[in-house]
Symmetry: C2
Subunit: 343 residues, 2 copies
Amino acid sequence: MSKVGIKDIAAETGVSIATVSHALRNPGRVSDETRRKVLAAAKKAGYTPNRLAASLRTARSGNIVVIIPDVADSLNGKIITGIENVARSRGYSVLLGNTQGSEKREREFAAMTLSSQADGIILMSHRMPFSAPAGGLVIDKLPPIVNGCENTGVDGIPCVSVDDRQAAIDATNHLLGLGHREIAVITGDMESASSRNRLQGFREAMQAAGLPVNEHWLTYGNYLPGDGEIAARKLMVQKDRPTSIFCFSDEMAIGCMHALQEQGFKVPGDMSVMGFDGIPFARYVTPSLTTIAQPTEEIGANCARILFDLIEGKSPETLQTFLPHELVVRESTSPIEQNRARK
Amino acid sequence: MSKVGIKDIAAETGVSIATVSHALRNPGRVSDETRRKVLAAAKKAGYTPNRLAASLRTARSGNIVVIIPDVADSLNGKIITGIENVARSRGYSVLLGNTQGSEKREREFAAMTLSSQADGIILMSHRMPFSAPAGGLVIDKLPPIVNGCENTGVDGIPCVSVDDRQAAIDATNHLLGLGHREIAVITGDMESASSRNRLQGFREAMQAAGLPVNEHWLTYGNYLPGDGEIAARKLMVQKDRPTSIFCFSDEMAIGCMHALQEQGFKVPGDMSVMGFDGIPFARYVTPSLTTIAQPTEEIGANCARILFDLIEGKSPETLQTFLPHELVVRESTSPIEQNRARK
DNA sequence: TTTTTTATGTAAAACGTTTTACAAGTGCTC
DNA sequence: GAGCACTTGTAAAACGTTTTACATAAAAAA
């Protein structure tokens, strides 16, 4: 039983393969009569067109590759879900490019566009996975590409994310509103613009409140729970301690709370903790985590929509898409008065 | 600047395209001299072979599709990571088949093998995504396929998972060992063999201890935190309450604990809670969760290895691969004495 | 020297589609 | 009845590789 191809359907139906193809792809091009016959024969024979052949001919793979540090990350998982949904609805498939942060892998996956395996790239990284020729990267030499959550800084590449700066301002203002003056920060990877923008927002909010930023209380993390634990321990041994900690990811915030509680500190009694991301588990830790929720699925979906438009030749309306974030107040932050009372 | 193809390299080098192809794929087939020239020209021109064309010719897409209910799930994310790593090392790419449990989507993704988009399937579902012809499914009419964590029950399909029955026995024995006699269970989807096997293991362990299973305390969930919350609330209003709850997923256990604590019950003081899966967050909830850890990445990696062997014509050594689970004892379970004391 | 093997290169077919350019038939208009 | 437009169908080229079968030259064996 060799595989059934378009020829078999043509033979079965008594028409040419061109007609079969038209009947399938281009209904108006053949008579209803013929179309019915072809469809029936195709169904009967269980014919599934070979997508490779079609892609080769049309120079469209119908795939996109999403380059992302870690699928297993709560945030990324949701983003991919958003991408996947849109992709399926538009007839595309998604190739997974899990990089663990490795630049080499980022480039390998990006190269799939060069070998016609993928028509475009959704890039959740701050690095451009292509070498710049002399004179720098030129956008129209590049395959269609969209930046999600991150920003490579290369001109002309659409970006979709929350307004990190404003989100950090909102987060900081929440803490300030509770009376906190002494706020520590655990950042993400400072190579990435998102983390830099958040820090920037934090500084602006502090400045606007007329408060100094204590650089002692700035710790550089990398989004993982372990980073939060380490940072928390480092902060706790300092003589002058902050009254609250703003973490640039929920995972770090959760690790941070864990370490604090382990050492006998009460959250939020002794220390308020604020997260960022809005992962589902933030609700379930104790105390539940106050955070800035990102519209993750929507970010993914928007990336996908823009990318498909790009692939199909429409240029995006705007290069920078900010999706709304949301301050979710839960139990891990409380007014400073309460703090002092306990001390 | 049209795309550079094998012809260009051939022209540039002054050899035939056959020679270029050999130089690239089949080093022994050409002289060192020629090979060097070809490689140099290819590099200089930035030649990347069109994978679609190669795949069409060789009838090998180099892709596999992993059909999975939800990438965003903590457990699945890790499994995919394991798959991805092995895939990359063997030169395969992975297509993502996110189904949200929909059978329709499972079939759509499975059909990628029919259209030559994928060479094989890793299936994390308990349903076969192909219609059975008269006479039932025959394994050698099917594309290469491996079952991960689940089992379709179709003969001849390799399965990789933990020994769910034994794992449930271990979990139950842990609770029994702490003195618990009254154990409630929140199951997963009972359509799936894994959940059925776990329940079976639970029953066996209870029976071995000479204890009855109280069917009132059996709740059917679907692995999500919300299911745990609902189940917990349902259990708490019953007159006779168990002293411990065995949840078939950590997510449910976490939801369960959350609901219990919300209603003023102490975990583990009033109620011990046991999970299943060993997701990273289990460490970070309060109290930290006792659970059965699955070797998720290894499960993924093994699925992938077996699938690639299958694709490449080697038949698997064994159809049923059990990977070792591990009982991770944390704070959410405690001896019954403590329970009674508080009451 | 002649014959046989080995090394290296190539022409051409094949993979399974899509699409262009053309042909033939049908009906309509004037 | 000629001219025209429209409808429907088809032959054949093209997409960019891999691979088979063969050719030639050089080296080895006789």
